[in-house]
Structure formats: structure tokens, C-alpha cells
């Protein structure tokens, strides 16, 4: 197997697994975990593309106080970008979990089906109340 592409297989697997969980699970917490996995896969994608064949860590190799000549370094830029993406991912998960806490307080459940059912019932009750009170 071509090891150069191996990373990308992992990326695609994680990406699809994450998306599947988001779509297939009806529990909000599980959905959010799927979303996290999905976001992590992108971090791996970026980090993989920073690899330069034969490159070393992007820290100057010193040769008597000055940077040595002829050394191949990996590309550091994708790693730096991913620091931002990690922050975004953590923030998203935090906001999402915060919202789930509020949903649980308001509905008493974190299952999408239960919540939707309660919303439907509330809407029907509201329409009924209005029909009775109205002209």
C-alpha cells in the first residue's frame, strides 16, 4: 500500500463516520460527538498536507549558530492554521453542549424525537387555544 495516501484514508473514514453519526443518531449529545469527530478529520487532513517528503520538523537546524544549509523542512503553515481550527472546534462543542443543557432544562430530554413531539403538541395546543378564544 502507498503509505503516502494512508493518512487520507484515515481522514475520509473519520469524516464519513462523523457525518454518519450526525445524520443517523437522534440523540443531541451523540450528534455533537459526531460533529467533533468530523471536525477532527479536517485537522488530520491539514496536518497531512503539511508533510514534505524527507522533511524534518520546521525548527532551524543550527550549524554553529547559523541555520544549516540544504535541510528540508516540513510545511508549518497548515499546523498553525489548525491551531485556529482546534479553537473553533472546541468553541463549537462548548456552545453546542451549552445549548443541549438548556434544551434538557426546557424539555426534560435530549432525544430529538421527544423534543419534536413536545413542540408539535405545544403548537397544536396554541392553535386550539386561539381558535377557542378568537372570533
Amino acid at each position: 500500500m502507498n503509505t503516502g495516501i494512508w493518512n487520507y484514508w484515515v481522514v475520509v473514514f473519520l469524516m464519513m463516520a462523523g457525518l454518519y453519526v450526525v445524520m443517523a443518531k437522534r440523540n443531541y449529545v451523540k450528534k455533537l460527538m459526531g460533529l467533533s469527530i468530523f471536525q477532527v478529520s479536517v485537522i488530520m487532513l491539514y496536518v497531512s498536507m503539511g508533510k514534505v517528503t524527507g522533511g524534518t520538523a520546521p525548527i532551524y537546524v543550527l550549524d554553529g549558530g547559523t541555520p544549516a544549509e540544504g535541510i528540508v523542512y516540513s510545511n508549518a503553515l497548515p499546523h498553525v492554521l489548525m491551531l485556529t481550527a482546534i479553537v473553533v472546534g472546541v468553541a463549537t462543542t462548548a456552545v453546542g453542549l451549552g445549548l443541549i443543557v438548556r434544551v434538557r432544562e426546557a424539555y426534560g430530554s435530549v432525544e430529538e424525537d421527544v423534543v419534536t413531539e413536545q413542540d408539535r403538541a405545544a403548537e397544536a395546543a396554541e392553535a386550539r387555544d386561539f381558535a377557542e378564544a378568537g372570533p
Binding site: 473553533v88 456552545v95 445549548l99
Partner: protein, 495 residues
């Protein structure tokens, strides 16, 4: 000072937000946030009036493509001015509306999130760096989720959560697209990417096609293009009034501008509409969106939800204009983006005024509003006319441009569909008008109130926006001339 304006537009709201959190006192927070938005508006309008050649601002003094570049052209200055103006109007409304809607003790957090959202949207417009677009996209999105969740009913929590899940998928798709472009071009500067894209060994690859797909789907979710629009109705209908009027006029519009730039600048019109033949696909989706959104709007029982579904239909017009892949289409798209932003914001503000007068936004409850709150009903009619595109409103000017662009390319079917879906707009606006003017008010409803009976905090901004929409409709040549040069520049790949 003047050369710092491109960055000040973004930095002022961005830095005011944490100050608000520290300040806490509701009255001071209201004034300071309004001042920040007004300062940002002043900077954006100054830029719009003075920009001739594109301004390139180098953040931290690092020249592009190494450093991050902010680029102000006529197109970006137009969008900046639009977004900041709408934000200021929404904040004027928010100063009153949020008192009843946001729980006490959270006012400062509400305004902080609002300004962060504004900063994110503005940053997305002004930046010329692809990764920066993602960062600002997430800044605005994350604060939007918090803002939506501050709605009055518990349904706001689920609306925000569903928006968060879909929005994050969209944002991450954009990130993947940008990553793949970076992989192929080795740069993040938008113009630099565009330059590399013209080389055959980059532009013709499968990776670029995949990047295109990811970017388009990502922006498509955020833009609420037809099959990806599920999050929008709930998010708009459940959020506080100041937020729904702000989002309706800015969030999807800024993303639309991003989509335009991705298609026309990053990938280039000849690649997107020539090699990939994306125009037909986008055109069909736009038609479906126009009809599905307008049809769904007809059957809504709540006013805000009706306006939200109408927005999905309007996004269809926007993407249709883009799908022509012509200069006239770009012009029509930019113009309709502006016209619809003003009209829809005004309508959501009117809806806020109605809610604060009637107590609910159920359409059944608005019976006899023409007698109970005549000015609110009248303002809604004006906005509705703008939405339909009646001559004399800004909506007419832009729909006319859209029709001209369709006919210029020989798309007779699209032109017919445009007119047909405008008829659907007549239906859903008429439904509300019929209830407001031709149904008897309930016997226990309070009698007509004098001018003091109105929520002027909401109605005032709404009337100003309505008058602006009509002025732009009657006396449109300065703005159309401006937008035409902006569209020409954008279409030719100038960021």
C-alpha cells in the same frame, strides 16, 4: 487615519464586544454598542464613497501573499456599507425590543454577541485571505447560535442547536475546500490562488474540482440554497426581533457575496460556467428554491415564519442571478442582494412592532390591524410591495435587472419562472394584508390608539427603511451606477 479605515471597520465592533461584557450596565451597554456600530457604519460609508482603485491593507505590515490582506473594492465597500447600516438599524430596534425579550442580567452578553457577529460578517467581506474567511465565518456563526438561542420561547434552543449542527457542517466543508485549494496552490491569498488556478496543472485537476464541490456545498448550507435550507425558518422565526431583522438582512447576504467571490474570483467564471457547466445545476436549484420557499410561505400561520420562508425564495432569485454566469447576472445579483436586504430587514422590524403591539405574531391574531395599528399595517404593505417588486420600490429595480439579465442570455424559461414566482409573493403578502384590512378586529381588541400607542423604537427604524427602499426605487441611478462598476470589477476576477 484614513488608510486605517479598512481594518477599523472590523476592529471597532470586535474590540467593543469584550468591553461590553466588562461594562455590564444595560443603559451604557446599549449606548456603547450603538456607537460602535455607528462608527463602523461611518467608516464603511466613507470607504464606499471614496474608494476608486482597490485598496490593499496589509495586516501587521506583512505584504501579501505571505501576510493577510484586507481588500476594499467598490463591491466590498458596497456590502460593508449595507451590512453596517442594517446592523445599526437593528440595534436601534434592539435598544427597545431586547428589554422585553432578553432576560434581565443578560443584556450585555446579548449586545456583545451581536457585535461579534457583526465583526465576523464584516471581516468575511473585507478580507482577501481564504483562511481568514473561515475564521470570520465561524466568529459570526458562533455568535449567531448564541443570539438565536436568546429567543423568547424554548423552541429557540432547538432552533439554535439545529442551526449549530448544520452550520458547523457547512463551515467545516468550507474549511476542507480551502485546505484542498491550499494544497494545490500553496497559498491562501485569494488573488494569488486565482492566479495559480489559471495554470493548467492546477486548474484542471480533480483536487480543484473536489475543492469546488466542498466550497459550494459549504456556502450553500450557510446561504440556505434550496435543499440545504432546513435551518433557516426556525432560526429566523424563534430568535429575538433585533436578531431576526439583523440576520435576514446580513447573514445570508454576506455568504452570497462570498459565494460570488468564490465562483467568480477564486475559480473564475470561465472554469465554473464553462468547464464545469455549473450554471444549469445552480439555475435549477434556484428555481426549486424560488417556488418551494414562496409556496411554503403561503401556508405559514406565523408572520415571522412567513417572512423566513419568503427569504428562502429570495435566496433562489440571488443564486439564479449568479447562475447566468454573466456580467449582467452579477450586477442583478448584487443589486437584488441590497434591495432584498433593506426590504426584508424593514419587514422583520415591522413584525417586531406588530408583535409588541399585539403580543403575538400569529397571522390570525392580526385581524383588523388596519384599524387597530394603521401605521404598522401600512408599513407592512409598503414592505410587501417591495418584496413583490412593484414599480417604485427598490425590489422592482433589482427584479427588473434580473429579468433583463435572464432575457439577455436567452433564458426565456427563467424569465417566465421569475414572473410566476413573483405572483406567489403577491399571494403570501395578500394573505396577511387581507387579514389586516378586511377582517373585523376581535370585539375585545383595544380601539385604535393615537400616535403614542405605537412602539416607536421598532416602527421608527422600519419606516425609515421603507422610505429608503422607495427612494432607491424611484431615484435609483446613483446606486445602480455604483453597483454596475462593482459588478464589472467582480465579474472580471478583481477582488
Amino acid at each position: 487615519m484614513k488608510e486605517q479605515l479598512p481594518v477599523l471597520v472590523v476592529v471597532v465592533p470586535l474590540l467593543t464586544a469584550p468591553l461590553l461584557v466588562l461594562l455590564r450596565a444595560p443603559a451604557a451597554v446599549r449606548i456603547l454598542s450603538l456607537l460602535a456600530a455607528a462608527a463602523s457604519t461611518a467608516a464603511a460609508v466613507t470607504l464606499a464613497l471614496t474608494v476608486e482603485a482597490p485598496i490593499s491593507y496589509h495586516l501587521g505590515g506583512w505584504p501579501p501573499p505571505i501576510g493577510i490582506e484586507y481588500r476594499v473594492t467598490q463591491a466590498t465597500a458596497f456590502v460593508l456599507a449595507l451590512v453596517t447600516t442594517i446592523a445599526t438599524f437593528s440595534l436601534l430596534l434592539g435598544a427597545r425590543g431586547t428589554r422585553s425579550e432578553v432576560t434581565n442580567g443578560r443584556t450585555h452578553l446579548f449586545y456583545a454577541a451581536f457585535l461579534l457577529c457583526l465583526a465576523g460578517l464584516l471581516g468575511m467581506v473585507v478580507t482577501g485571505d481564504a483562511f481568514n474567511v473561515f475564521v470570520f465565518l465561524e466568529i459570526s456563526s458562533l455568535s449567531t447560535y448564541a443570539l438565536v438561542a436568546m429567543g423568547r420561547r424554548r423552541r429557540a434552543f432547538t432552533a439554535a442547536l439545529n442551526y449549530l449542527i448544520l452550520g458547523t457542517i457547512g463551515g467545516t466543508f468550507v474549511l476542507i475546500g480551502i485546505g484542498l485549494l491550499f494544497q494545490m496552490t500553496g497559498t491562501l491569498n485569494a488573488l494569488d490562488i486565482a492566479r495559480h488556478m489559471t495554470q493548467a496543472e492546477v486548474g484542471g485537476t480533480r483536487t480543484v474540482q473536489v475543492a469546488f464541490a466542498f466550497l459550494v456545498v459549504g456556502f450553500g448550507i450557510k446561504l440556505a440554497v434550496f435543499p440545504l435550507h432546513q435551518w433557516l425558518p426556525n432560526a429566523y422565526a424563534e430568535s429575538p426581533s433585533a436578531v431576526s431583522s439583523f440576520l435576514a438582512g446580513t447573514a445570508t447576504k454576506v455568504i452570497y457575496f462570498q459565494t460570488m467571490r468564490a465562483l467568480l474570483v477564486l475559480f473564475g467564471a470561465s472554469y465554473v460556467f464553462g468547464t464545469l457547466r455549473f450554471g444549469l445545476f445552480l439555475g435549477v436549484l434556484s428555481l426549486l428554491g424560488m417556488f418551494a420557499g414562496s409556496l411554503a410561505a403561503i401556508y405559514q400561520t406565523s408572520l415571522k415564519r412567513l417572512l423566513a420562508y419568503s427569504s428562502i425564495g429570495q435566496v433562489g432569485y440571488l443564486t439564479l442571478a449568479l447562475s447566468f454566469g454573466s456580467e449582467a447576472g452579477t450586477y442583478a445579483g448584487l443589486l437584488h442582494m441590497g434591495a432584498h436586504a433593506i426590504t426584508k430587514t424593514a419587514l422583520f422590524v415591522v413584525a417586531a412592532a406588530i408583535v409588541s403591539g399585539v403580543g403575538t405574531d400569529r397571522i390570525d391574531a392580526l385581524a383588523g390591524l388596519g384599524k387597530r395599528l394603521p401605521l404598522c399595517a401600512f408599513a407592512f404593505v409598503l414592505g410587501g410591495l417591495g418584496l413583490i417588486g412593484v414599480p417604485g420600490t427598490a425590489g422592482f429595480v433589482s427584479k427588473w435587472a434580473l429579468l433583463e439579465a435572464a432575457l439577455a442570455d436567452g433564458h426565456l424559461g427563467y424569465a417566465a419562472a421569475l414572473l410566476l414566482s413573483s405572483l406567489l409573493a403577491v399571494v403570501y403578502v395578500w394573505r396577511v394584508v387581507e387579514v389586516m384590512y378586511f377582517r373585523q378586529p376581535p370585539p375585545d381588541a383595544p380601539a385604535a390608539r393615537g400616535l403614542r400607542g405605537y412602539d416607536w423604537g421598532a416602527l421608527g427604524p422600519a419606516l425609515v427603511l421603507m422610505v429608503a427602499s422607495i427612494l432607491l426605487g424611484v431615484w435609483s441611478s446613483p446606486i445602480t451606477g455604483y453597483v454596475r462598476t462593482a459588478a464589472t470589477q467582480l465579474f472580471r476576477g478583481g477582488l
